[in-house]
Amino acid sequence: MQHSKTQDTLVGFFVASGISALFYMALQVSNLGSYSSDDSYTVIAHFQNSGGLKVKSPVSVAGVRIGRVSAIRLDKDSHESVVEMRIESQYNNLPSDSGVSIYTAGLLGEQYVSLDPGSSDEYLKDKSTIDITSSAIVLEEMIGKFMLNKAEGK
């Protein structure tokens, strides 16, 4: 088998397609492509209980994803959960009196933050805090309350 230019070309094609497959997986399949952190701003919300919310959980308005949760930590004084959300800067007209709640996608799905736009003329800015929050619904708590009500009703 004599070494030829066709062979060189085919090997080049093979290596190029292999590497592009790797890039394809890195960008299209994994979460590497969705880190577009520069053009976004952060808003903060305090929750009584953030339930099973995780970093990178989606933040959505009317079911459309507008950002992701970037950090969850505990406020040492109030013992509340502080949730930081990065919101894409194209959505810069969210009223400042908007409310946020934590919901579960489907019965067993992952939890996400849903933002209900208010009616104020002022808009949320970087580092602004959302005051109207409602906590995650913890299923065990609900069942507990339900059982208690049943027992009391008898």
């Binding site: 088998m1 070494h3 062979q7 060189d8 085919l10 090997v11 094609f13 093979f14 290596v15 397609s17 292999g18 590497i19 497959a21 790797l22 394809y24 997986m25 890195a26 299209q28 399949v29 994994s30 979460n31 590497l32 492509g33 969705s34 990178k56 989606p58 994803r65 489907g106």
Partner: protein
Amino acid sequence: MFQFLQNLGKATRSSFAKLGRASFFLSHTLTGISDVVPRPNLLIKQVYSVGVLSFLIITISGLFVGMVLGLQGFNILSDFGAEESLGVMVAASLVRELGPVVSALLFAGRAGSALTAEIGLMKATEQLSGMEMMAVDPIKRIISPRFLAGFLSMPLLAALFSAIGIMGGHLVGVGMLGVDDGAFWAQMQASIDFQEDIINGVLKSVVFGFVVSWIALFEGYDAIPTSEGVSRATTRTVVNSAFSVLALDFILTALMFGDI
């Protein structure tokens, strides 16, 4: 009883001797790689016969495996009303397991057996001894370029397999079964982690490429130089490669994904 003990001892001794020969062979091959670098033509020729000629079988198998995953996954997931997770299922199973493992098995069958037969026949026709007579180290001239080519081609082939498989899953899931296109990709991107899944999958294929090339070349080099010996060596390559790949896959999975 005495006979049995004697046979057992003989088998143990010969398998250890083979392991020792294989280790010497490997270290010899690895040191020979430094001589391949100044002669890239040797490498290109081998990447052609090991990688490029395996290209078609890998892409077609990848496409079909991905399409089957799409079909089967849809059937199971639709029972739970979770068809949107089809993308995650297809991508995770391909990137983590099926991509590296199935392409390594195909690679052993397509390229490994060819390598063994080639080296074995070179030995049987005394080409290797002829090279030694001319003071050309056959390991450096023949084995090392082939080893390096197999080692480099395997991750590329596995990546191709996974990428084409995901496209196949998309074709069936979104194109034929009507899963939502956005949900398919979005759920996949949300769940597949670059570090955790893709890098680990590539690491697996690197290990498999190393092992399969080693086994194939060693079996060829160690073959009894008769036509029967070469045929046996070729069989052993495929059997041992498949066995090592599957066993190593378990160990690597336990190390990478299982908290053992």
